[in-house]
Every structure is written in structure tokens, then in C-alpha cells.
Symmetry: D2
Subunit: 342 residues, 4 copies
């Protein structure tokens, strides 16, 4: 049993962490903080947790975080970088679900996130928490940067091709669709039910913060820079990401076999049989990524379909997976929920 | 470990049973039948079960059902009554999720279900599987009639009042709203996405099959006939039932206390604090009923709000709860999933 | 052609007024105000109006409202009462879509709306704009209080019974369900897509502001006080209200005929044949109320089903209907859109 | 006034035709046929049309179609080709909303539609009814092949680039998303509410029937064959198509200006300002296509966003637009509805 704290637990990634951790056999929830909700029982805000989570939100300044073995940050960008050093110095390990430690190039991070970074040296130390790429490094990490939701679905779909070097790396295209929970639990007009329901739109086409994160991950896999056009869309569902990926073939391969071999030992990546079309609901509330490989009309363009639940494999579930690795637990501990369908 | 079979596993209650049973510590799935899908791996039809359920659908005629300890019928009305005697004779216990054994008065059943009953004697033996009412009888039952979804939410909300005899029993009103999965997975026009989405309607106002079932349950609790107006509605969500119940007060009581005492030891009924409004999503994918008690404006009419997930506490979850009781397992075994929110 | 102004045009009733008025043969849109959006072309905020509405939002202090023939207030409660006298004095007629002039009893209004009323004398002058009740008075009115959405659907469903005095007037029940647009276009957490979608709940059961409005209307029709239990619910759709009404019969009548006669000449009330179940989509984007009458099981309780589009017959459409009456236009002018289905 | 008949009026394109034609100033609805619903008043099946359409469905064999000036076929593929010659011979003009006359290459058509064509000579005569391309020919046509929904959104988005020859014509990509009404009103399991709601998936990636239609249209515009990867997706909304188009720049241009000039005189194509993201709801229930042009990060890949309502500009609205051209009416007659938002 380890003691775990959550900083900023009122958003969707926070409540999803609570759902998963409350069912985890190796975890004791020690504290969950929220400045705005200090003193409020968590289950008053989220009745789904009634009888399952007894904690109240505590004042971030007073919470016993330094007595924890691990602290998750489920905070807006820019918060974790202010508090992580102190926790690490106290011997606490940290998983940040926001973007503070994801981008190695500080100048790139500062440009896309519009603020000065508080601790570039910790960025250098942080491990990018995509277990399918960095499993060994995550095991030994003090500080893990949990990947973004689009980056998880998109990288997992492109990785076998990029590692094998068999597609045109200068013109990758990721057409990604997200459920509305990906925008968080903020009181903003554009994600109101009456705005987002029965509606579909692209957004951020000129540039989205997940673009440099995906490009960094693919460049590391390729050993060179890659060119990527990334177009996110908002689709009227709560959970789920569907990345439709396009890549021009530069060298013939058994592409189905390439994916199957690459993910053969991965507990949370499921390569579907040829001609499959994964549905987002097939991973709803579970820590799974399902991938299908297509080559329409036998042409020179591959189409990869990759789905995850943005709140699980795209956020809280992957964070728990990282925790499992960091503390030597079974990688699947607390993550065995079967997807909820329908 | 017991061996369990499912007859008719291709509908929503079937796949929900599979989701729950595949995670149950005391159950070995021995067979799941479907005439139409014989030979098809279950996970091909429901990719959410890939890697978790290895079974293929088997021919009902050949499935090793008589070697099971328990068989669930997740079939249309009228199927279980044809096959139950044979199973019981072979020493197999049975839980029917359809309506074949729910109504004690055979004439009433035949009128509402439009067919002749095949085994009235077994109806007499069957135990109505609402554990909050019949726990002891369920423990010893060979044959359990699993309640309908509307009847579960509605009876649990009315029971304390009816048992206490403190409301006008001749004029109860149940205004119930169901998600679309309650209509099953049938290829019918009126439950198409483009018909049921962004739309709300009542249906079956002249008479719905769950009316006699609810009336029977309430009459047993009251020790007399009750009068009930029952109006079901279709609401554009997948899972969930919200019963809004109206009862005229005939004798003053501490109504909040009445409900809290009645359900104090119930693991799956949660009485909310005064002035609460339970949401269906607070029980999504979990075996919980949440209830709130209101007395608007201090008048003489009580308003009870009762929510369940129709596929869990309203079907498959309650069936597993009944199984747990029948076989002496922990009543909560395999039913500890936390609701999925958002 | 009359000149029309709209105060507060950025909400859903505002944009719906624009949709209807831009297609109205007798109306010239002269001004639409918004403090926050001054200078922004309306079509930039609502691209659905591109090419159809050329106006920009103007500063409320500078807009040529006093040169209008009619001004609609599509503002939060409490705004119209501050500005109406000045407009009336300038000879401008006013329709308020908010609640400032709906409740005749000032003390009741102040209790439910939590503020002091600015002009009780104008409340006394204002005509409650339900044409099916007050057509003649609306024609001559300077100031019309446009009814609320729940009150429109609920009163139209109860009126024939209450006017005929054939039901128990002390125990009426209205179980009403609204689409989310009824909550307006405010950045509030509880109406986010990820909160309101795939979810159903009651709200305001202890007391909702539309309760006194409905009671007032029914009391006027009855010539005495009435008792009403009113329970509103939020249902996951954009537009639509479905009121399910319950009344105990106190005198036998041909209830179907009663409704048909009462609304025989009403252009916007459609009494359906016996055993019908009106769907909210059957009135989507149109100024129609459809009503069905049921007497389940031949008992003593009537069930009336009444549906409207909350933004049309429940707000902007009814306001245009009132305008048509006030200015002697064809009552249906600009309101002939056929419902959008699916 | 012309007399118009509709063959096969029970589907979504049929009811949408009725909605538009019932409000059209130059049209008299003479007949609407349905074998299955013969004798049923249209308004019984579609209550949204109560009071607006008096017709009953008539037997196709007895309907006075040959007395019409124009007949629309809103039938499954393969029906119109059996009946068109007889109507043309009787002097009736025909618009087919299905695919029978869309593909000039009969062998290609027969391969994708899996049947033998009944009248190749009429295919040769038919005019492809995309007014933005074939306006003059449509005016004189006896027989118009109304384009598919995906083909309309996709061709309009690609056309300026393809006509100008400034992009790589061998590697066009169309990632298209459709609301569920695009699948029609058929009782099929995969488009049930409980299957399609809160879910997102691609389908038909190996090959979709709209692929050859789009390729044909773009090839005609280019004067050569084009290469296209077309991936359709199902998104949980009723109406709307969003095509996200990718094209590699082969020659620099003022791309925004190119689109604005190309569609300057088009009444139903709206080129949005730079950096816009059109939403499907901005065209809901209207005959408009809105297009935005992006060049992310100043790279060599253009991203074009194109939205329509699949039932209007993608089907019934475009059919009415074609009718207007064929009979010399104002091209916008009966098509001036403002989009319904929210």
C-alpha cells in the first residue's frame, strides 16, 4: 500500500483518478486538494463516489502531500511546475497529468503555453509517461509527464510505422476527433450542451498545443524531425478519441504484422483484425487503445484508426499505469475494468 | 466457483451480464447461447469484451446448460418458460431476466403478455427477485424472477411509504423516464438514433406491461390492492431510469427518516440527504439505486425521486445480486464497480 | 412594416427572435443591443445568420430604441422593469420575454425573484401574453408579459379542464421535462455537455419560479386558488418541453371533445387524436403546442401530454405571435415554419 | 405552379422534401407514393406535417405520376432506373435523389452498386445535379441525378483547388463525418440510438460507394484522373456533414481569394473568413454549404473544412434547387429558411 495525494481533484481527470484509485488494491488515498472546495466532501460534489471515497477536499497549503509516496497533479497547466521541486525534495514521486513536463524544448513549450517555465531542469529529468515507449525509464522515474489525450491515441497509431521508417515522415496527417470531456469541466460557453450537442466542428486548425507534443514523440521514434498536419475536432459525445491517421507508404511492409508484432506484449494496446473499424465505445471507461490498419483500394496511402477513452488511457488510466510501473505493482493493477457498452 | 450459462446473450442485458460475470470472482462462464450467432466469438460481436471473454455463442440445443449450477435467461418474454422445467429437473437453478415468472396471477400475465403460460406451477414456485423485499426467499430459491427495470426503480421508491401505510394507496402516480437501452437491441425504427435523439415522448400511457408488476409488488407490501397511474417516457440517453413518484400523505411521518431506516442495511440502496436531486449518471454502470424524498412547499403531496441504471440494478446487476444470494456469496461480489461519471 | 428593437440579443431567445423576425414580412430590424458585444456583427456571433442579418450589436445606451414601434426584451430578469417606462413614454410598445411583468402579486414576485420590483404600476397594466387566453387584451396592450416556457406548455394542457371545473383543483400535478436550452446560454457548469448529456435529473423540486406563474394562470381560469405540485426535469436534448399532467376527475365529461372544442380556432394548438403520444420533435423550431388526452385503464386520473419548443411557442415564437396581435398583422405572419424532423 | 410527385416518401429525404415543398410558392404536391403505407395520411406518419400536408401515401401503381410536371425519386438505389423512362416518355421530368444516374461509367456503377443497370442510355442523358458545376445543363435537363451527401460537401470543398490545378491531384484526402440520418430510416441495428449515441467510428474504409462519385466529379473538374482517399465516419448527431479535406500544394496561390472568387455568385455556398471553423449546426435545416480554408503552420498542406446539412444541401434541398433551375423559378425559391441554431 502506498499513500497517494491528488492536487486539483475537481475536474474530470481528478474524478476519474478517484474512480480508479478507489478500486486499486495497492493505494490508500491520503489527500485530495481544491482551494475552491476546501472542506467539501468529495462525494458531495461527485455523488457517484458516495460510500466509496470518504475524503473531503483539503486546502492545498495544509494537505499532507509531503507524507505521500506519490502525488498526481490534475491541475491546469502551469501549476505542477511551481510545486513539484518541493515534493521531490521531500522524497515524493510525482505524475503530472497536465503539460508542464511534456515538452523537452523549453522555448517550444513557452511559445505554445504562453508562460515562462519555472523549472527547466526538472523538465530535463522528467520521463514522458507513454509506457509503450518508455517503460523502463518510467519504472525508475521520480517525475513522470503523463501524455496528452490526442498525443496518446495518435502516437500509438503512428509509432510502428515511424519506428520502421516505412512511410513518408514529412507529410503525416492526423485527423482527430474528441468527446467533449476532453475540454475539461470549465464553465465555458462553447462546451455547453446546447452548443456542443447535435453539432460537429474542427477547432484549433491553425495550431493546437498537442501538435508539438506529438511531433516530439514521433521525432524521437524516427530519429529525425517529422512533418505533421494535426486537425482536432469536437464531436458530440462525452468520452472518447478517434484518431484517423494518414501516411504515404515509402517502403512495402506487412503492415498488419508490423503492428501486431510491435504491440504483442502490450497489455493495453489491442491491434484489431484487418478491415476492422474500432468504435470509441469499445474502450469506454477502460484503459485500452484499439487500433486498425487499412490500405484502401490497395493504394499508396495507409489509414490507421486508433481509439482510446480520453479520460482513461488518455489521462487518469495511463497515470495509474505509470504509477504501477513506478512502484513495481502489476502494470494492470486497478485497471482491469471491462469497457461499458452500451 | 460455480458454472454459469446464459441463454440469449446477444442483447443488452446479455452483454451486461457478461461484463459483470467476467469480473466476478466466483463465476466460471460455461456457455452462452444464440441461435442466430452460433459459432461467432462473443468478442467479435462485442469488441468491448476482447481479451476478457473467450467464449463463442453456442447452439442452444447443444450447449452444456444442464451441467451448469445456474442459468440466466436473457431472452425475449416467453422463452424461459419453455426451458426452465428441464433445467430445474437437472438440478440447475435459474434466474429469468424476462417477465415469464414475475406475475403470480396467470390470467393477468396472459392478458398483458398476449400468450398462454407454459408452466403456471413454476410461477407459483418462483421468487420475485427484489432482494430488498425477498432476500431470505431468494437465498433458498431454485427459480428467481428478476424484476423489470421500471418496477425496480418504482417499487424501491414507493416501498417505505406503502409498507408504512402513510399515503393514499388508491392514487399513486409514477412518472418514469427511461434511457433507450431499455427498449433492447432490436432493429426497430422508433429507437433509431435519428428518431430517439434530441426528442422526448411518453409511450404506453393506455397501459404498459410493467404496470401489473409494480401493482403486484406494492399490493404485497400494502397487504391490499393499490391504485397506480404509471406513465413511462423515452428520454435520449443510453442508460438510466428516473422515476418521479407522487403520493398524497394520509398520515404524518418523518418521511426522510422512514426511508433512511428502511434502507439502512441495504448495500445497493442509497437514500440521499434532504433536498437532493439524484442524477441517472450517478449510478451509471453500477448496481445502485439512489433515492431522494421531497415535500414541495410543505404541502400534502410527497415527491420521491428514484434512479437506477436500467441495465444493472434494473437487469443484469440485480440478477448477479440474486445469484450471490442464491449461492451464499458476498451479496456485493462482482458488483463493486464505481459509477462512470462523466 | 414596423421597426423593431431587441434588447439583449446574445442569448438563445435573442437569436431565435432574430431567426423569426428576419423572415417576417412586416418587420424591419432596427437595433439589437448587447453591452458586452457592442460593435460585433450579429452574424459573427451566430454564423447561422450570415447573409440574413446585417446588424451589429449596439450599445444599449446609444441604440435607437425609442424610434422603434416595438421593443422586445430578451434580457435576464430585472432588466426590462428598469427600462420599460421610458420606452412606453416614448410611445414604444414592449414585449418582455423575461419574468418582470408576469406575476400580478408584487409580494409573490419579489419573494420568488429575490429583488424589489421597480414599477408595480406597470405590472398592473401589463397583459399576460398567452394568446389562447388573452387575445383581445393583447391586441390593445402597450406592454405584454410573454409567458415562461413551462407555464405555456402546462397551462395550455390544464386550461380546458380547469375552465370546465371538472377535475380536483387542489391536487394538480405537472411533471415537466425541458431541453437544456431552457437554461439559457450562460457559462455554467451544470449545463455543460459532459454534465447534461446522457443524464436525466429533476431540479428545483422544493420550488421553481414558474410555479407561481402557472398557479396564477390556472387560478384566473378557475376563478379560485388551485393547488399544484410542479416538478421540472432536465432532459438531454436541445429544444423541447414535454409536460405530463395529472388531474383527478371530479365530474365526468367528454374530455377529448372538451379539448377539441376549446382549441378549435387556435392556429397554434393542435389536439391530437385519442391514444396519441406527442413527441417534442414534432414541434421542433415551430410555434405549435400539441396536446394528447389519456385516461389510463379507465380510472379516475386524467393524463394530459403537452409539448412545445421552449424557444418558439415557449419564448420567441409566442413573442412574435403577440407582436402580430398588437399590430394587427395576421396572427400567423412569420410563424409558418414547418417543424424540422428529424 | 407545377404539379410534383414523390416516389418513396417515407424516408428522411422524403419527409424533408415534403417539408420544403409544402412551403414552396410554385409547387402543388400531387402525389406521394409508398407501397407499404398506401392509404395512410402522411401526417399520421410524420406529425410534424399535421395541418400542412393533406396527402395520403398512394399506391405507386395507381398514383397520378404521369400527370405531374416533375417527379422526385426518394427511393433506394435501383428503383428509379426501372421507372424513369416511362415518366420521361410521358413528358414528366425527373430528379433522382438516389444513385441510379450519378455514375457515367456503367461498369463502375455496377461494381459498386452490385446490380445490373436497367437503362445505360438514360445515364448518358442524365445531368449531374450539382448547380455550382452544371447550372446551365440542369436548366435544360429532363433527368437530373441529384448528388450524394458526402459528394456534395467534398466536391464543393475541393473544386476550386482542382479546377485551378494548384494541388497534388494524385493524393487528395477526404476525412468526412456524417450525422446518423445519412444512413436513412431503416430498421438496422447499427444505427440504433443505443449503438450510435455517445460513440464515434469510421466505416467503409476499404471502399464506400461515394468514392467513385467524388472521383468522377473531381476528374471532370481536373480534366484528368485524380487519386482520393475517402474515409467516412459516423458521428452522434442527427443532421450534418463535416468534410475535412487535405491537399498538398503544388503551386502557390491566394487560396482564400481563389475560393471567394469561385463561389462569389453562388447563393448557397458561403466562404468564411480566414481562420474560421464552420459548425454543422450553422447550416442545420438550411440549403447552405459553408467552407473555410486553412494552411496550418504555413506548411505545404491545405486543410479545407466544408459543412452541409446532409438532408438539405446534401439531398432534398439540392433537389429543390435543381427543380427551381429546371423550371425557371428563382433558384432560391422555397429555400430561404434560416438555419435552426441552437
Amino acid at each position: 500500500m502506498i499513500k497517494v495525494g491528488i492536487v486539483g481533484g475537481t475536474g474530470y481527470t481528478g474524478v476519474e483518478l478517484l474512480r480508479l484509485l478507489a478500486q486499486h488494491p495497492e493505494v490508500e488515498l491520503a489527500a485530495i486538494t481544491s482551494r475552491a472546495e476546501t472542506g467539501v466532501p468529495v462525494a458531495d460534489m461527485y455523488p457517484s463516489l458516495r460510500g466509496r471515497v470518504k475524503l473531503a477536499f483539503s486546502d492545498p497549503a495544509k494537505a499532507p502531500l509531503s507524507a505521500c509516496d506519490l502525488v498526481f497533479f490534475a491541475t491546469p497547466n502551469g501549476v505542477a511546475m511551481q510545486q513539484t521541486r518541493q515534493l521531490l525534495d521531500a522524497g515524493v514521486r510525482v505524475v503530472d497529468l497536465a503539460a508542464d513536463f511534456r515538452i523537452a524544448d523549453i522555448a517550444v513549450w513557452e511559445k505554445w503555453y504562453g508562460m515562462q517555465h519555472a523549472c527547466p531542469d526538472l523538465v530535463a529529468e522528467a520521463v514522458y509517461g507513454l509506457p509503450e515507449v518508455n517503460r523502463a525509464a518510467i519504472r525508475g522515474a521520480r517525475l513522470v509527464a503523463n501524455p496528452g489525450c490526442y498525443p496518446t491515441a495518435t502516437q500509438l497509431g503512428f509509432l510502428p510505422l515511424v519506428e520502421a521508417g516505412c512511410v513518408d515522415l514529412d507529410h503525416l496527417i492526423a485527423d482527430a476527433k474528441s468527446g467533449v470531456s476532453g475540454a475539461g469541466r470549465k464553465a465555458e460557453t462553447h462546451i455547453l450542451f446546447s452548443e456542443a450537442s447535435d453539432n460537429f466542428k474542427a477547432y484549433g486548425v491553425p495550431g493546437h498545443r498537442h501538435l508539438p507534443e506529438i511531433r516530439q514523440g514521433l521525432a524521437r521514434a524516427a530519429g529525425r524531425e517529422v512533418g505533421l498536419t494535426f486537425v482536432p475536432h469536437l464531436t458530440p459525445m462525452i468520452r472518447g478519441i478517434h484518431s484517423t491517421l494518414y501516411a504515404r507508404i515509402s517502403r512495402e511492409e506487412d503492415f498488419q504484422g508490423l503492428f501486431e508484432r510491435r504491440f504483442a506484449d502490450e497489455p493495453f494496446v489491442d491491434v484489431l483484425p484487418p478491415k476492422s473499424h474500432p468504435e470509441t465505445r469499445s474502450v469506454r471507461a477502460a484503459n485500452t487503445c484499439r487500433i486498425a490498419i487499412h490500405r484502401p483500394q490497395g493504394g499508396d496511402t495507409l489509414v490507421i484508426l486508433s481509439v482510446i477513452d480520453n479520460l482513461v488511457k488518455g489521462a487518469a488510466g495511463q497515470a495509474v499505469q505509470n504509477m504501477n510501473l513506478m512502484f513495481g505493482f502489476d502494470e494492470c493493477a486497478g485497471l482491469s475494468q471491462i469497457p461499458v457498452l452500451p
